[in-house]
Amino acid sequence: MAAFYSLILVLLLSIAGYFGGSAAGTFFGIIIPYAAIAVFLVGLVYRILLWANTPVPFRITATCGQQKSLPWIQSNRLDNPASGTATVIRMALEVLLFRSLFRNTKAEIKDGPRLVFSERKFLWLAALAFHWTFLFILFRHLRFFLEPVPGCVLIAQELDGFFQIGTPILYMTDLIILAALAFLLIRRLADVQIRYISLFADYFALFLLLGLALSGVVLRYFIKTDISGIKELAMGLVTFSPAVPAGIHPIFFIHIFLLSILVAYFPFSKLMHMGGVFLSPTRNLANNNRTKRHINPWNHPVKVHTYEEWEEEFRDKIKAAGLPLEKV
């Protein structure tokens, strides 16, 4: 049902964008995008500052590899780094290559009965494909927001359309992102266990992204619109002199409205893993508990009574009893 409700919601948002865009272009083309980016920036900064001010006094050592200890015990440098550099490498592998998703397994009860864990690499592959193509597509979209268009953006789109299929030339990333999103959605729906733990928010993000990608694909390949008009609108937004030119197809407003919703929803949702991955204490702290003493920085100052002080207090009595003194 969660999947169904989120699909309905995204469809309603699309319909709102379609009809709202043609009826109230200023609202859907200017006010909502500005509001969305403002919510995004403020919300994201707020969440990061909140996380930055959350105390992480100790290193979390529950990692996947052998800790560095004695020289003759081989340690796993990347899974259980002891130095800052190795931690940076672990972070880079996690952020750029999603190493922890590579460990994805599926648990099944086989005949016996015995529990069997089998590898499932497709989650990792689809996630990698989705995130990288999404980044590439965002980068490609800079051609609408920058004037003059920098050469690297043009090179990126030329590489993307390398095979020169169709008119306008088919972008490979468009195919990859749709396939990856479709896989990620089907994965949640097909497997009963994953479906059980999937929530409204999981499907909503997926349908939002699918809607965004599909509306973009439709605009480029099927129902075309005046692209220089769209650039005019985008340039108006980034130069703070917004205007909605006439003759923009309503499908474009679906695209920009879904994007605005995605961007505004971002700080309040699981999409914040973009910032959160950098702040994961199990990933970003070196495991050097054995070599370095970590003292809780906000330890309450405890009043202690040392042996020296105790001896001083009872000096006479100890002496009278004939017991040995440390300090004679």
Binding site: Q157, Q164, K224, S228, M235
Partner: protein
């Protein structure tokens, strides 16, 4: 904590990247929508202005298919006007004599990938320039 400054630094870098289009255009000065040079002898293109703006590439590809594969050399519009199917002899020769002043204007403004029309077709202006 000593890591906090690192987080703030990362956040600042991220904000700089996200707001890059705003700062870039402040620095570069906003290029506005190009003014196209329209031909003096014609007021109406093959199809309506709106259609040509959004879908001229589709029309040109359809023309190519009709001409090259089906040997159809005349295109009849909805309002019964006939055109010789030819980029060089119709579009370029009759109206848009300068690729640089017409085609390239919007293409470079919107960052459109250089269309492969010019792999085969000759830009007459350029030909003139190289002949001189």
């Amino acid at each position: 904590m000593r890591d906090r400054s690192l987080i703030y630094l990362g956040l600042l870098v991220f904000l700089a990247v996200v707001t890059f289009p705003f700062t870039y255009n402040l620095a570069a000065g906003s290029g506005s929508m190009p003014d196209l040079e329209y031909p003096e002898n014609e007021t109406q293109c093959v199809e309506s202005k709106e259609f040509m703006r959004s879908s001229h590439m589709q029309l040109l590809i359809d023309w190519r298919e009709a001409m090259v594969r089906e040997n159809v050399r005349t295109y009849t519009t909805g309002d019964d006007r006939n055109f010789n199917i030819s980029l060089t002899n119709t579009c370029l020769a009759q109206c848009h004599t300068s690729k640089a002043d017409f085609c390239d204007q919007c293409h470079s403004y919107a960052g459109v990938q250089e269309p492969y029309c010019w792999d085969c077709h000759i830009d007459p202006e350029q030909l003139e320039r190289s002949a001189r």
